[in-house]
Amino acid sequence: MRIRVQEDPFNYGEIADGFGAGQLETGAVVTFTGIVRDLDTSDMTAMEIEHYPGMTQKALEAMAQDAKTRWSLQDVLIIHRYGRLAPGERIMMVATAARHRNEAFEAASFLMDYLKSRAPFWKKEIRGSNDGTWVAAKTEDEDALQRW
């Protein structure tokens, strides 16, 4: 299990490639990556991610542990960045390793649903020279937790 909260970029390809390596029982690996995107106005210059330093690492560890209780997983990885990110940069990644594809898919999807609404991160979109707009939480993200 590997959980990292960091300001620096991470090397997604290298980490994905190394994840689950050498575990002979792993038959399925799922990765998810979230990327800074600008859907609405295409004038976003940056995304600022604030977090709660004392809580974040623990919260992510608890989620990963929860996933390991619900599904039989060989390994779990969560990396989440904070600070100022440019459009196109990777915000975070999750990876799950299991014997069967369903376990790996469900665990990754579960972790993403929890990360969205239960990990102490707040996103702000910066456009031009203004102060930025806090991204509003979506009802559908809260609702997504109901299925677990």
């Binding site: 709660y52 919260a59 969205k116 609404s117 239960r118 990990a119 102490p120 991160f121 702000k124 806090w134």
Partner: protein, 81 residues
């Protein structure tokens, strides 16, 4: 008690954290107390349904007891991932 604010709650109050002396027994009571103290708090805490709290770095409810809690954080719904 150490009180922390994040995101637009922090911006509206103009503080990231402060030490507060309080007799409030729940998070909700503390929020009401702070709202009465200063209009900036009242503005930040206007819509309770848009607030979330963590007690000693664990998510909690507005009516969770503050007994033995050393750190409370008040913030908007999280937007991670």
């Amino acid at each position: 008690m150490q009180v922390l604010y994040f995101a637009w709650v922090r911006e509206r109050i103009g503080l990231a954290k402060e030490q507060v002396e309080t007799n409030a027994t729940t998070a909700g009571e503390l929020i009401a107390e702070l709202s009465n103290k200063d209009p900036r708090y009242a503005a930040a805490f206007e819509d309770l349904s848009a607030l979330r709290v963590a007690l000693d770095q664990e998510l909690a409810e507005m009516d969770s007891p503050l007994e033995n809690v050393r750190e409370i954080a008040i913030f908007p719904p999280m937007t991670g991932g």
